[in-house]
Amino acid sequence: MSEKIIEIKSIAKKFGLFEAVKDVSFHVNQGDVFGFLGPNGAGKSTTIRCMLSLIKPDSGSIEIFGKSIFKHRNEILSRTGSIIEKPDFYKYLSAYKNLEIFSRLSRVSIGKKEIYNMLDFVGLGGREQDKFSSFSHGMKQRLGIAQTLLHNPDLIVLDEPTTGLDPQGIIDIRNLILRLKNEQHKTVILSSHNLAEIEIICNRMVIINKGVSVVEGDVKALMNNEDLVVRLELSDKDKSKAVILSQYPNIQITDINDTSIELPMEKSKISELNKDLVQAGIGIFSIEAKRKLEDYFIKMVNA
């Protein structure tokens, strides 16, 4: 069994009369890429801030690397890198100077070469001396990631790291997270509104809604309990629909285009459906079965 890197038990936090977090519990194992999901105002940011000691919860406990964040704050933070909400740096300083400022506060010796290498690594090579105020949103995100990784932390907390990035930037960050997991065995917590991203990258996740952790577990295992969404590309769409409806009268079929349809179906029945269509003389050009985290997320949040 993997070592627990983070264990959060029943944390709650009120701001005046407003209960931002009511009862959030979850754990993150060593090497997890852990998805942190929830609609706006669910309490994600407050929970992340509690984890990083920016906010003190009213009750509950937070242990990171087996120690309480409030008793061993500096030790834990020296092994943690984070971006919270958006990467804000000193506008009047260059990218290099910003990283230099924060590197001095880490407990690791970080030289000029390491800072230049890191800036190069995140795609800011050549822009080291440019002021932060002149950066685009995507460049700011990249600088935030550089700051997060500079001291080689064991735990990385990324709150919406791909916001504002172009498609190539999103792919770069995704690949970077997977490399951190696979090659360096880092533990990553990824809070994102991009559910497809979570689905691709994360192995475990928690969904938070209205200040309460609704569900937590292995991403694949959680969604295995759900129907798949099956997309079929067929030689005769109308005939196919008739065949399917004769077998499953209550099924909801969605037209995608002239040759494709989508329908929900249990995994065990897909081969049977395939057989029925072939026997009816319908050509199947492609068949793709997938679960949509988006559907699962909406179902859990609205439950």
């Binding site: 801030r49 920016l54 003190k56 030790e75 984070s82 958006k86 009047y92 400022i101 506060l105 700051q147």
Partner: protein, 281 residues
């Protein structure tokens, strides 16, 4: 070690912020204007002061010398310097919140107390630089342009004439007490800065408090008599005590003690508030 690095960081941030140079530039311009005015028509101003004594005293030698010029400059500018200090130090905590960098700063492995104390230290270093610059511009430039001589000071007890050889240590003492007073202004503005995420609020509030205390200190109303000795502004002018003869040592000690108590209180309140603060910005 991390504390020293944090102080260095804070000094670098102040040094690279354009606003920090406003104070230095303002002192340079203001002192420059005063020096120019005294050089052009200084004797007529001096004559205005000395004329009332001319029936009983005769003035010989270089009355309008560097020592007197420096004293006049300090007298005129010491009221404005707190604004220049608060302009930079009032922003040290709340500016981080307004910019959003406080989140990043407080997720580094340094305690909040150390981080805050490093800001107080950096504020102190900035205050020291401003005071040293004011000293250079007034005393050194004054002596370079007007030469040296005995210092003639008019205070509430009458005219005090201090020998040339007896003046330099008085300036040193005066600047040290002025530094302590201005450091208290810096502590006040940093303390106020811990209560808000607004960058301008602490600067304006610091100036409002100084203005209010100055008015209370100036109003000759009995109801304020018990409060007046403990006001920061009462002791901001205690640098002048160094130019009295004999030296009012007890008054100076008293001022230093009250300013130190102010600093200890303000720093303690700041540490308490900053450590309790939830970072929601």
């Amino acid at each position: 070690m991390i504390f020293i690095k944090s102080i260095y960081n804070e000094v670098i941030k102040i040094a690279l912020k354009p606003r920090s140079y406003l104070g230095i530039a303002a002192i340079t311009v203001l002192v420059g204007v005063i020096l120019f005015a005294l050089k052009s028509d200084g004797m007529s101003i001096i004559s205005f002061v000395t004329s009332s004594f001319e029936q009983t005293l005769s003035f010989e030698g270089n009355v309008l010398n560097g020592n007197l010029v420096a004293f006049i400059i300090l007298q005129m500018l010491i009221v404005q310097i707190p604004l220049l200090i608060a302009l930079v130090t009032g922003d040290l905590v709340s500016g981080e919140a307004a910019m959003g960098t406080i989140r990043l700063l407080l997720t580094q492995p340094i305690s909040r107390t150390q981080l805050l104390l490093s800001k107080f230290m950096a504020g102190g270093i900035y205050t020291l630089i401003v005071i040293v610059w004011l000293g250079f511009m007034s005393v050194i430039m004054g002596k370079m342009l007007f030469g040296t001589g005995d210092l003639m000071v008019l205070n509430s007890d009458g005219l005090v004439i201090l020998q040339e050889a007896d003046v330099n240590w008085r300036y040193l003492g005066g600047f040290l007490v002025a530094f302590l007073a201005l450091f208290t202004v810096s502590s006040l503005s940093i303390c106020l800065s811990c209560f808000t995420d607004n960058s301008i609020g602490p600067i304006v509030t610091t100036m409002s408090i100084i203005l209010l205390f100055t008015i209370i200190g100036t109003l000759d109303v009995h109801v304020f008599d018990s409060v007046r000795p403990f006001l920061l502004t009462t002791h901001m002018a205690s640098w002048r005590s160094f130019f009295e003869d004999p030296l009012p040592i007890q008054d100076i000690k008293n001022s230093i003690l009250i300013l130190l108590i102010h600093n200890i209180l303000l720093i303690s309140i700041s540490i308490y508030v900053f450590n309790k603060k939830d970072i929601t910005a």
